[in-house]
């Protein structure tokens, strides 16, 4: 008990170790701290890798067609669902997702926790054949092959 006694009395005459946080500016987070992520839609190529690696599935991607040529792609990152593992930032080949050190995520409004970004992109070229056509072509090829095989059998 005695060493604590000395320590306590010494503390009495020391400056308190408390951070005076609300009242002064919030202290900076440690190096490599993973806080709120930032998303730069101008760099994104819509590869979808981040959605694949996200464990808590906090990302949603919506694709809206503007006209025949272009489409608008919107990524939404829900910060109340994120585990801040940083996998999306690691896998982003274009460095469009970056983890910032902003940890002050406090709000009464759920909308404040959403990080969104959207960009427009030229629609990918339409495929030459629709899936139905492809299926029909495949069936036709199959039938042709079968007919050829039957002919062979007849010969034998």
């Amino acid at each position: 008990m005695l060493p604590y006694f000395g320590e306590a009395i010494r503390n009495l005459f020391k400056k308190p170790a408390t951070e005076r946080f609300p009242g002064s500016a919030a202290p900076k987070a440690a190096e490599c701290y993973r806080g709120r992520l930032s998303y730069d839609p101008t760099k994104c190529v819509n590869c979808g890798m981040c959605i694949r690696v996200c464990a808590p599935q906090c990302m949603t991607r919506t694709i809206r067609e503007i006209d025949g040529e272009t489409q608008e792609i919107t990524f939404t990152f829900d910060m109340t669902s994120c585990t801040f593992c940083g996998m999306c930032a690691d896998f982003c080949s274009q460095h469009s997702i970056v983890m910032t050190d902003d940890y002050m995520m406090v709000s009464s409004d759920p909308k404040d926790f959403l990080v969104t970004g959207s960009f427009q992109k030229k629609k990918p070229a339409a495929p030459k054949f629709t899936p139905e056509q492809l299926a029909a072509m495949k069936a036709a090829a199959e039938a042709k092959k079968k007919a050829a095989a039957e002919k062979q059998e007849e010969k034998v």
């Binding site: 008990m1 009395i9 503390n11 005076r20």
Partner: protein
């Protein structure tokens, strides 16, 4: 005129208002000192006052199976009884009431206050409160024995002129006016140290607050209390600290600045602040909460031993 005088004494000084204000201030100051001992900033000195006011503003929930009268009445009655005990203690030279055996009345009223807290807690029927009641009972048994021994020792010393034991705070003060404070008699120093521990436990201060352990038994006695009755409990806690420190001042440091009432009150306040530091801040700052059986063993060996040493020394006229 006499009646008016008495009313002022009961309500303002040294009655309700003074005791409440001093209790709140001492508790707040103790909290601040604890924080500084632990190297942090700590709550403002008026924090207990904010706590009490806030409790007045909260909804009061009466448990379904609780006796309503006991549940609400016990804290209020406990507070009233405690204030009555305070009226017997000389503050600034005089007490509101005085009698031939007021030490025993004070002892009884302080015990009654604890019993009221237990009755209120037991009426809620909560198992946590039940555990709290049994712990409070153990704590009471622990500090009551050394407390009585200390009172006996002081009474014997102050009654040495007449050859008996005195139980009147007035005559203890009278004796100290002639012979100097009891604390300055070397044989009474062990009793004074024991009294410091008794104050800590009686006022339910941190390392000895087994009955209200918030992390172990959900606040124990106060588990079911909210709103108005809780405010009275907090108030009782604050005032009890002041009354115990004032009792220490009356028993061991009476008779200082006799004749000058203003100076006597200032001295009383100073003594109370020093005692708050010794009994509340220091043990809280350096010690974790004791277990129930540790508390019991500590009080019945160390503290009782100290009090007994003083009693034996005084009995042999040393």
């Amino acid at each position: 005129m006499d009646f008016l005088m008495l009313a002022v004494q009961i309500l303002v000084f040294p009655g309700l208002l003074f005791m409440t204000a001093m209790g709140v201030l001492l508790t707040g100051l103790g909290g601040k000192l604890v924080a500084r001992l632990q190297n942090r900033v700590g709550p403002p000195v008026l924090q207990p006052w904010y706590d009490i006011l806030k409790c007045f503003g909260k909804e009061m929930i009466v448990p379904e199976h609780a006796g309503r009268a006991v549940y609400i009445g016990a804290p209020v009655l406990g507070f009233a009884v405690l204030c009555t005990a305070g009226f017997f203690i000389p503050m600034g030279g005089r007490a509101v009431f005085s009698g031939t055996a007021d030490v025993i009345v004070v002892l009884y009223l302080l015990t009654f206050c604890s019993v009221m807290a237990m009755a209120g807690a037991a009426s809620t029927g909560s198992p946590f409160a039940g555990v709290g009641v049994s712990r409070e009972m153990v704590a009471m048994i622990s500090y009551e024995l050394p407390f009585v021994l200390i009172l006996l020792a002081v009474g014997k010393l102050a009654g040495s002129d007449t050859g008996g034991v005195t139980f009147s705070l007035q005559s203890i003060a009278e004796w100290q006016r002639i012979h100097g404070p009891v604390l300055f008699h070397w044989s009474m120093i062990p009793a004074a140290i024991a009294m410091l521990f008794v104050i800590s436990c009686e006022a339910g201060l941190h390392p000895f607050d087994v009955a209200e352990a918030e992390t172990e038994i959900c606040e124990g006695l106060l588990a079911e209390y909210s709103g108005l009755p809780l405010a009275f409990y907090r108030l009782t806690h604050c005032v009890r600290l002041f009354i115990m420190t004032a009792l220490f001042a009356a028993l061991f440091l009476g008779g200082l600045a006799a004749g000058n009432d203003g100076l006597a009150v200032l001295l009383l306040v100073a003594v109370c602040i020093v005692l708050t530091f010794l009994c509340m801040a220091l043990p809280h700052g350096i010690c974790a909460r004791l277990r129930v059986e540790q508390l019991f063993r500590f009080y019945w060996t160390v503290v009782t031993g100290l009090a007994l040493v003083s009693l034996v020394l005084v009995w042999f006229g040393l």
